[in-house]
């Protein structure tokens, strides 16, 4: 709001709305008030998430937001903050805890990614990550099913919800579709062809994603190994990684791995990612040496990151992530 030059002391300290023709509630305040139902559900969901993991004997932890060495990933850019970075995910610290003997962990935290802004992206967003030792990505598929059914049941008393004109059923089994089958079915080409023609992301976004999770949730699983730098490769086919993405209503909600625990292999993949960062003109982050060292003590594990803002979008039937946070960045 613009400052009106004061007409005496009263004018300076008391805003006289009828004089300047302004509403008693400027538009941002009015919009914020209109979010109260969604923000109430958001708060309840956070509470229910904690209940779910506590009942399953997961320990809630907090790890630093400000870190010296984010995981190098070719397409995820960290926001620099002084001589450190804001975390893009708590992944590396969570795994150091697993290596130290904590068997089941979860965390709800703020993550930051440079230049990500769209109807499903906020540069600052809320992530739910959870990890379990001696488990693999198939176990996490089951836990996703249980979590979503629990949250929907707690909120609405049923395992079904409406999203943007469609009804999504949460009763199992959910669809399990391999990346290869999805490319052949919806994209009209194989994964290798898509990679060779450098159009993997474009085909995924424009032809495949809109078809995923439309009636029941879809697990899109077994990604090409080069697209999963922190995931374990499959024993039967090392060109594939044990990674899945969970989709509901065409929206990517979560990303999971059977975690890579070989420190040498992880170091090689990070070096490759750093080379890609350099090739696209970016300054690589400092080397995450302590994380690599810790990997040698880490038991086989599975881990998953779920976007809480998108979860709220889905469960409150909102089209944009802006609708489910109190303050989209432009309103600050």
């Amino acid at each position: 709001m613009t400052e009106h030059p004061g007409t005496g002391t009263v004018g300076r300290f008391k805003k006289n709305f009828s004089d300047c023709g302004m509403d008693p509630h400027p538009s941002e305040t009015w919009k914020l008030a209109g979010k109260r139902d969604i923000l109430r559900i958001r708060g309840e969901l956070l509470h229910s998430i904690r209940l779910f993991f506590r009942e399953r004997h997961y320990l809630e932890v907090e790890t630093p937001v400000l870190i010296p060495a984010p995981a190098p990933e070719p397409h995820i850019d960290a926001v620099a903050c002084g001589d450190r970075y804001l975390q893009t995910s708590p992944e590396l610290c969570m795994k150091r805890l697993l290596a130290a003997g904590y068997p089941r962990l979860f965390q709800v935290c703020r993550c930051f990614r440079e230049a990500e802004r769209g109807s499903r992206h906020l540069p600052e967003f809320t992530m739910l990550e959870w990890y379990a030792v001696e488990r693999d990505y198939l176990f996490l598929m089951d836990e996703c099913e249980a979590l979503l059914r629990f949250l929907s049941g707690t909120l609405y008393g049923k395992e079904e919800f409406a999203y943007q004109g469609r009804s999504i059923r949460l009763s199992p089994p959910w669809e399990r579709l391999s990346v290869e089958d999805a490319f052949r079915m919806y994209g009209g080409l194989s994964v290798r062809e898509a990679l060779a023609e450098d159009c993997f992301d474009e085909v995924l976004v424009s032809r495949i994603e809109p078809n995923l999770g439309t009636e029941r949730p879809t697990f899109l699983y077994d990604y090409p190994a080069e697209l999963a730098s922190l995931a374990r490769t499959k024993e039967a086919d090392p060109r594939l990684a044990e990674r899945f993405e969970l989709y509901l209503g065409g929206i990517e909600l979560a990303n999971a791995f059977s975690e890579l625990i070989d420190p040498r292999e992880q170091a090689l993949r990070f070096e490759e990612a750093q080379q890609q960062q350099i090739a696209s003109g970016k300054r690589p982050y400092p080397w995450p040496g302590r994380f690599i060292e810790a990997l040698s003590a880490m038991p086989p594990s599975a881990g998953i990151a779920l976007g809480v803002d998108r979860l709220v979008m889905l469960l409150t039937n909102q089209a944009s992530v802006d609708d489910v946070v109190a303050f989209p960045p432009e309103t600050l």
Partner: protein, 187 residues
């Protein structure tokens, strides 16, 4: 030059010599994948539309358009008439060329007419226009069930969501870029 991260709705860029306007825009990014900028583009001369996905490395030239200040006169048979106040020259634009701006066109409103090689292509509105509410349900004070907004009709026939305290006959300020209510205006 624009880069892909400058892309947004209503940006005008030049592609293969023609001016295009971005009519729909979305930033997408598959998990662990690269940022993609999905656009619906409209050729500002032919009106042809198509979808295209850009990557963050893509760059564009701005569309080479001139703008001329003109005053809105009237609409007749789907043609919108404008006049240059200096030269009294008049031009007409089709409903298609005026597009959503028609929601905010009131008599004598000063607008910018976009020209590409002297041919009118479209119009740019002031960011804020004050319009009169011609139809609104009365505000039941303390009625919390009715929620935080209600639809009203403006003098141009445009329907808009406003806070419940806005009454018929009042003037409101609308942001023409978003089409959203901004504030009540006195007088």
């Amino acid at each position: 030059m624009y880069s892909a991260s400058d892309l947004r709705k209503n940006l005008r860029i030049k592609l293969e010599g023609d001016p295009y306007i971005v009519t729909e825009f979305n930033f997408v990014k598959p998990g662990k994948g690269q940022a993609l900028y999905r656009c619906k583009l409209k050729n500002m001369i032919t009106g042809n539309q198509f979808e295209r996905t850009f990557r963050s490395v893509d760059v564009f030239e701005p569309a080479d358009l001139q703008e001329k200040k003109m005053q809105y006169l009237y609409e007749e048979g789907g043609q919108y008439h404008f006049m240059d106040n200096a030269s009294y020259e008049q031009i007409a634009l089709s409903a298609d060329q005026v597009g959503d701006a028609a929601h905010f066109l009131i008599d004598n409103l000063e607008v910018e007419i976009l020209l590409f090689e002297d041919k009118p292509l479209g119009i740019s509105l002031p960011n804020f226009v004050d319009l009169t509410v011609t139809r609104a349900d009365p505000w039941a004070k303390g009625d919390s069930v009715s929620g935080n907004s209600k639809p009203v009709i403006l003098q141009t026939g445009y329907q808009i969501q406003v806070p419940p305290f806005v009454e018929e006959g009042e003037k409101i300020r609308v942001d023409t870029r978003t089409g959203e209510y901004l504030t009540r205006v006195k007088g």
